[in-house]
């Protein structure tokens, strides 16, 4: 995949969203380049998941632009695209990993079919090749390839999450959005998943926006960090900058609240 390393993949400008009277996003701006991982941290209700969903097109912003640098169609404002335009422009270039893997998988179809679906959607029509790619990806996410024909409803939570990640990454998207990908998993399972994500991000040169309330996850995975509170970005910078030298009162509170045993 050849990408122009100087151009960002995503630029958000002046994004705003309200639900009735309640302002959930105010004046959000961010940029993301290929190969970068940006973590958005904040407490519940800070608007971080709302922001992610707005970028993914799950809800329409009231104001602002979401500029996506597509592979073949130049720069497009995702906030203004129709559904069919979105599909044409983005294709399989935007992934979304749900916090609960069951929201991002077809539980009653086999693991192989789950990974194969984006390939089918991209127009691949060779059964053998689809199966081979699916088997390779099961290996990459450390799921026993012998389970390729099993439905994920029989998998553990950690395995389901790894399957969801494989399903999202199989078409090597330019941008991947992740909503608390390790939330709800046991600590050791989390650790394994984080290692996997680290490796995949590095190997595939992905641009990732990851929403998390866990500063440890941010420190492990992210180059840059954005702190949100009440729908606003209150601090942003390199991950180590924000965590080691927090400036804003809320950021300092957040950082000091992490248990260091």
């Amino acid at each position: 995949m050849t990408v122009d390393l100087e151009q960002p993949v995503l630029e958000v400008r002046g994004l705003a969203k309200s639900f009735g009277d309640r302002r959930v996003l105010s004046d959000i701006a961010l940029s993301l380049w290929p190969g970068e991982v940006l973590a958005i941290v904040g407490e519940s209700g800070s608007g971080k998941t709302t922001l992610l969903r707005a970028i993914d097109g799950q809800l329409a912003p009231d104001d602002g632009e979401i500029l996506f640098h597509s592979r073949n169609q130049g720069v497009v404002d995702l906030a203004t695209l129709s559904e069919s335009q979105r599909r044409r422009v983005i294709g399989n270039d935007l992934g979304y990993v749900h916090q609960n893997p069951r929201d991002g998988l077809r539980l009653d179809l086999s693991a192989g079919a789950n990974i194969g679906e984006p390939l089918l959607q991209a127009g691949m029509r060779h059964y053998g090749r689809i199966r081979q790619v699916a088997a390779d990806w099961l290996g990459k996410v450390e799921i026993d390839a012998a389970r390729i024909d099993e439905p994920p409803i029989r998998f553990s939570g950690g395995m389901q999450q790894r399957l969801q990640i494989a399903r999202n990454l199989v078409t090597e998207p330019r941008l991947v959005l992740m909503d608390e990908p390790t939330g709800g998993l046991d600590v050791s399972v989390q650790a394994r998943l984080l290692d996997l994500l680290r490796r995949l991000v590095a190997d595939l040169d992905l641009a990732v926006v990851i929403v998390t309330h866990d500063l440890g996850v941010a420190r492990l995975l992210a180059d840059r960090l954005m702190v949100m509170q009440a729908g606003r970005i209150i601090e942003t910078g390199l991950t180590d900058q924000v965590l080691d030298d927090p400036h804003q009162p809320y950021t300092q509170l957040l950082v000091s609240s992490v248990l260091q045993l």
Binding site: E83, S84, R87, R106, L109, S110, G112, A113, G116, E117, P118, L120, Q121, A122, R125, H126, Y127, G128, R129, I130, R131, I148, D149
Partner: protein, 290 residues
Amino acid sequence: MNASMAKADTTAGGYNFAYLDEQSKRMIRRAILKAVAIPGYQVPFAGREMPLPYGWGTGGIQVTASVIGRDDILKVIDQGADDTTNAVSIRKFFAKTAGVRTTTRTTEASLIQTRHRIPETPLKAGQIIVFQVPIPEPLRWLEPRETMTRRMHALADYGPMYLKLYEDIARFGRITTAYDFPTVVNGRYLMSPSPIPRLDNPKLNRSPALQLFGAGREKRIYAIPPHTSVKSLDFEDHPFETEGWSHLCARCGAADSFLDELVIDDRGTRRYVCSDTDYCDSRVAAGSGR
């Protein structure tokens, strides 16, 4: 109301010609025109109450009632046979309400209504075949919501349909769908051809006849205009195949028609006979029977 309403043919029992009132026919004809203009696209229509319940061919009957004319010659088959209860009932229905000539010979018919089979005898230009459809939506197995399947059709989001085929191959080594095999019409819309056997799918492709599909309970009409491409789904390395038999028809000796398996005595003796009764009869009459 126009005067022609008063002059409309009234047949036995005082019904309008072919049972439906003229306004209903107009509405259905408009739906049919739209369906023909967009091959394979499911057009919603305001299905009328018919004198038989859903599941018995009300959609097919409404389409037939809307296109039938006084000079038409009607054939009705059910699983290929002219002489099953349903085929007989529907044929009688139109004989009574439209006074049209009826026939069992495919070659003689100008209008054929069918449940779950296409006649073996190739259709000709000028013929119309009307299919009875239970579930018009080929994606329903995957997505129960109508709103979602409509979107999938609008966006040509058909990748998931291939998932069914993928799962078949993964589980059984081949695509096992035996009937109602999904097709793509005119390179655009995914269509359910109704529960016809796989063997019949190739007959849909570039047929010189007009093919109309009516679903009464679901209230959808779709169409394949003459000479339109209809391609059954497959994979590059698992191409579409039709089934074959190791038997010949026990009556006429045909090797290429769809065979019914009949149990003929209480010891379980089986005979394989053409499902298309007209085809079998013609072959026997032409002297190729056993």
